[in-house]
Subunit: 342 residues, 2 copies
């Protein structure tokens, strides 16, 4: 039993593959894609209770209003002056917490079906973090997914494993090997760190970034619950993920295996899988009529969608944009002109 | 060389299989589905020139404004008090023309690519009609279509053939036989009749209908270019096509073979075939982006449509309705709730 766990909720990520529902001014974390709550609200709700300190939310300047509308009154907000990927964002939060605080870093745009399993893993990860480990949630894979990074487990330690290595997104053959081996798990981007331990590792492996974070925080300003780091120092940082900057380099990486019905809802196809389908595999939100359709997802914000004879097709209507994609082409949505702002 | 040919343009038919573009208040004939002109305007333009008298347009009460907006100043309009299929509609027009007038009956919602071939066939049909024949345009088939009625040719006569028989929509096997035989043609619903000869045959085979038409016209009223038949007598008529009521019964049926790039544009798939496709078979009207798509038709009245990985799919956006159908399911569009007014 460690002290309170400090949730650090990351609101970066544009979710362009969920365009046209996800748009720059209304990105994925703040959308109610599953149930009535937004993914951000569900993430916060998951990190609430006797074991959790008030959350620290790291959000871009454009999304502060959304975050404040949807977040709880006791949340603190760290403003990302610009998007620089996850390592700087986490470092900002770490620099605002006591050195002995245990951070639980959570992306705000994932879905976790089994909250109890999440809590158990958080507890185990926090315990390891309080011993100085930098702990990744290691999500037990159920398919040879090529869209995620993997973590290979090393020697067992109390409550988890050391990390043998991080592996970038594999091709299909390697993904099948990983699944068969049973010693690989998905890296879901959820971590537990001691705030001081994290900053020490960052200092060791990315001294320039650590320096810039210190400068930016030292010259930052607080206004109500918002903390605004100094922008020029922060903007000079090279964007880098926490995996690249810290986790792949540190000797203190550990992992906690977890099965918790996790999805990053990375594409419309992933969202379809997370929603409840009818007997024909169809998933409908909004007005729709389906004739002779199977595995069709319709998501409309208003107009009625009438489908005939479709199989494995996703139809999304959002304002002045209509998306019609085969499910296996859902990865390409981000490349569309609309999704990339053209 | 006969006297002037009197175009009789039929504006009935709701075109529910072209929903959601075709709607009850804005039906298929009055839509610009090919080029800038509506099908009705193109039909009128085809029947204009030195050989044609001013047209007689038969239209329902709800569509008079559309017809008057789109038609030429010298057109006369006969108001159909209610829809009763083609036999009563043609009979109304016949009763308003001199007995020796040669009528050229044209549906207003077909596409004809080759106007010169149409004119040549109209001339041949008019010549036969002036000799007392009831003449059907016999459209040379280029595929074993099951969606049309067929006409089998009989003995040759000057400029055409006698009709051996009319055949209702065949199944696929019979349609293939018809195509192979070479003696069958499509019945496109285009006819040339002497007005008096038509009414005489109607009197012989459908005396009750002929009587009701006489009553309705005798008690009708003229106002400007509109003629309004008396509604009660007309409403008592049993709906029947000219094929059933007259053509299948008369001994004076003749046919004129014609190849004129004809399509009834009966479905979105037929419309796709009549439009110009790009090298991948895609046909786009409105804003669209297509990635890895083949044989896709997009028709949008405003919103951008983004498609990924589709083959042989039709996407139509019209106001508050979106249709997404496999092309081979286009026949079912009329069965959708939206198309049937639900």
């Amino acid at each position: 039993m460690t002290g309170l766990i400090h949730p650090v909720i990351l609101c970066g990520g544009s979710g362009t593959r969920l365009w046209p529902r996800s748009r720059p001014e209304r990105p994925k974390p703040f959308l109610s894609l599953l149930g009535e709550r937004s993914l951000f609200e569900a993430t916060l709700a998951r990190c609430t209770g006797a074991r959790f300190a008030p959350p620290v939310v790291v959000a871009g300047a454009h999304h502060l209003d959304l975050a404040e509308d949807q977040g709880p009154p006791d949340m603190r907000i760290v403003v990302e002056p610009e998007g620089r990927n996850t390592a700087p964002a986490i470092a900002l939060a770490a620099a605002r917490l006591p050195a002995d605080a245990i951070m639980l870093v959570c992306p705000s745009d994932h879905h976790i079906a089994d909250t109890a399993a999440f809590h158990a893993a958080a507890e185990a990860a926090a315990a390891l973090a309080s011993e100085g480990h930098l702990v990744a949630f290691a999500i037990t894979p159920d398919r040879p997914e090529t869209g995620y990074g993997y973590i290979e487990r090393g020697e067992p330690i109390d409550g988890g494993y050391r990390v043998a290595r991080f592996v970038e997104k594999p091709d299909a053959a390697r993904a099948r090997e990983f699944l068969a081996a049973g010693t690989f798990a998905w890296n879901g981007g959820i971590f537990a760190f001691g705030a001081g331990a994290f900053l020490a590792e960052l200092e060791h492996h990315r001294p320039a970034m650590a320096h810039a974070i210190r400068e930016s925080v030292a010259q930052g300003s607080e206004e109500g619950r918002r903390f605004q780091p100094e922008a020029t120092a922060f903007a000079a940082i090279k964007a880098e993920s926490v995996d690249y900057a810290v986790m792949e380099n540190t000797r203190r990486a550990a992992m906690v295996p977890v099965e918790m019905g996790w999805s990053d809802i990375g594409t419309w196809a992933a969202l379809r899988a997370a929603r409840q389908a009818d007997a024909a595999g169809n998933v409908v939100r909004g007005k729709a009529e389906l004739i002779e359709c199977r595995n069709v997802m319709v998501d409309s914000d208003g107009p009625r969608v009438s489908c005939i004879g479709l199989d494995d097709v996703i139809v999304v209507v959002d304002g002045d944009e209509v998306l019609v994609a085969r499910a296996d082409g859902a990865q390409m949505v981000g490349k569309l002109g609309g999704a990339s702002g053209r």
